[in-house]
């Protein structure tokens, strides 16, 4: 009976841990100028609905799910933030490393990050993050870096 109680307690703790999955998307003053719009979640088995053929490489690397959110910056342009939650930090690093770095500049986000101007990628722990702005300008690149920093802060809090 006592053993059953312990098992039940552990199960409850496990469920609570799973459910405590944080929302990585900043709102309000966390990322100045950015307003969050629609958000969606795709488990690994449904990722193809979001990125079709692109899903394969995430599945091969080992992905749990993808959460994505639309953003708008000061009413000027839109962006999409994809947070791919991998099974391990190594999987997130592998996805990051698999993408060509040509034309990018390192940015201070996550354990490693790259800015390509209108897009930005970084990884931290088992999170691989991609931000894409529908605007090519110095302001958009700067705004993406700020959004990346805010997402990164949320991820770090979640990992504590």
């Amino acid at each position: 009976m006592k053993r059953l109680g312990i098992v039940s307690l552990l199960a409850l703790i496990a469920v609570a841990c799973v459910r405590r999955e944080p929302d990585p998307f900043p709102t309000g003053d966390e990322a100045a100028g950015w307003v969050k719009g629609r958000g969606r979640t795709f488990p690994a088995s449904e990722l193809w609905r979001y990125v079709d053929g692109d899903a394969e490489r995430y599945l091969q690397a080992g992905i749990e799910r993808t959460v994505t959110a639309e953003y708008r910056y000061r009413g000027q342009f839109e962006a999409v933030a994809d947070v791919h939650i991998m099974r391990s930090p190594e999987a997130a690093r592998r996805i990051f490393a698999s993408e060509p770095a040509a034309g990018s500049r390192p940015v201070e986000a996550g354990e490693a990050g790259r800015s390509y101007g209108p897009s930005l990628t970084f990884h931290r722990g088992r999170y691989f993050v991609r931000l894409v702005a529908y605007e090519e300008s110095a302001e958009a690149a700067e705004a993406l870096r700020a959004l990346a920093a805010a997402i990164d802060r949320r991820i770090q809090v979640a990992r504590r």
Binding site: R40, W48, R49, V51, D52, G53, D54, A55, E56, R57, E78, V80, E99, P100, A102, G103, S104, Y116, G117, P118, S119, V132, A133, Y134, E135, E136
Partner: protein, 329 residues
């Protein structure tokens, strides 16, 4: 009174359908416009002054579309070209490609221009359906869902449904979207010129993955023979009359998702009846851009779109450069 050409066309359509007992819906369909004799024409229309971003000027875009259509049909009047493509009373589907959201999807301004010309050619607004796999894909790309029967409809397959029975050819066995099988008499295919991380490129033939319920099953072996086999499904062969490829902004790496760092302003449209010729031509455009940027060819990175050759062997069209008439206007 039907002309001899129309009668012959209907017979060919019946053969392509693989069945003699055609349903009323099927009998309305025009023949597939395979170019059995002579070269397959691919028109490449470009406008250097066209903006490549989401705000591509719609007036410029409409002019470019007119130029492309006139060149393809070799006529002086753009409306004459559209009248050769569709007939009043038909329901016309516009199969767009919206999976990648804004940036790498068929741009609404192009589709608006197509809708305008279709209506000028006698197609009622209520007989135009803009469709893709999911309504949320359409919305992500900037379209507004519209289901009313008194206007142009914009709907995803989840709203219109799929057939209950599988259609199959070779490696492909799928439930087809009723937008294709029941709603539309004719389909204009509106893909985007872009790279694909598994099957090499995604252009005219691959866009019809949006007409089946299980496209995720068809990516092994760089899509070969799946892309070609799906295109062989009879309603696709019979109803898709023309491809107008949005190549205003193209992508040479990182597709099918939108990766602005690997996109470039091609500022063009590709128009063809033969999807194999269009896909071969688009593939070569992407290869040239990859080479210009110092990237390895798709073959070298293990993503050569071999399914284009398979489609040619199926008889869908030609991938022989000597039989492709690429017309730049």
């Amino acid at each position: 009174m039907r002309t001899r050409r129309q009668v012959v066309g209907s017979c060919v359509a019946a053969l392509m359908g693989g069945a003699c007992g055609q349903s009323p819906e099927r009998s309305r369909s025009r023949a597939p416009q395979a170019e059995a004799a002579g070269p397959s024409r691919v028109v490449i229309a470009r406008d250097p002054s066209l903006g490549s971003g989401g705000g591509a000027d719609s007036a410029h875009l409409a002019k470019l579309l007119d130029r492309a259509m006139q060149a393809f049909y070799n006529v002086d009047d753009a409306l004459e070209a559209w009248r050769r493509l569709v007939r009043p009373g038909e329901t016309v589907g516009l199969k767009v490609n919206c999976l990648a959201g804004k940036g790498a999807s068929t741009r609404p301004a192009l589709v608006e221009a197509v809708c305008e010309r279709l209506q000028q050619a006698g197609i009622r607004a209520r007989d135009i359906l803009i469709w893709d796999r999911l309504s949320e894909d359409l919305e992500s790309a900037g379209y507004r869902i519209a289901t009313g029967r008194d206007r142009i409809r914009v709907m995803g397959n989840e709203l219109l449904g799929y057939e209950d029975e599988l259609s199959s050819f070779g490696s492909a066995a799928s439930l087809l979207a009723t937008a294709l099988t029941r709603v539309c008499d004719a389909v204009i295919n509106l893909p985007v010129l872009k790279d694909h991380g598994i099957v090499g490129v995604t252009l005219a033939m691959k866009n019809l993955f949006g007409a089946v319920h299980n496209p995720n099953k068809y990516h092994p072996n760089t899509g070969d023979p799946y892309v070609a086999d799906v295109y062989m499904l009879p309603p696709i062969r019979r109803k898709v009359r023309l491809a107008i490829c949005d190549a205003i902004a193209a992508q040479y790496q990182g597709g099918p998702s939108y990766m602005p760092q690997w996109s470039w302003p091609y500022r063009g449209l590709l128009v063809a009846r033969d999807p194999v010729a269009l896909d071969y031509t688009g593939w070569q455009i992407i290869e040239r851009e990859r080479a210009r940027r110092g990237l390895k060819s798709l073959k070298e990175v293990g993503r050569e779109p071999r399914w284009i050759a398979t489609a040619a062997r199926h008889g869908i069209g030609t991938n022989d450069p000597a039989r492709i008439q690429a017309l730049e206007v």
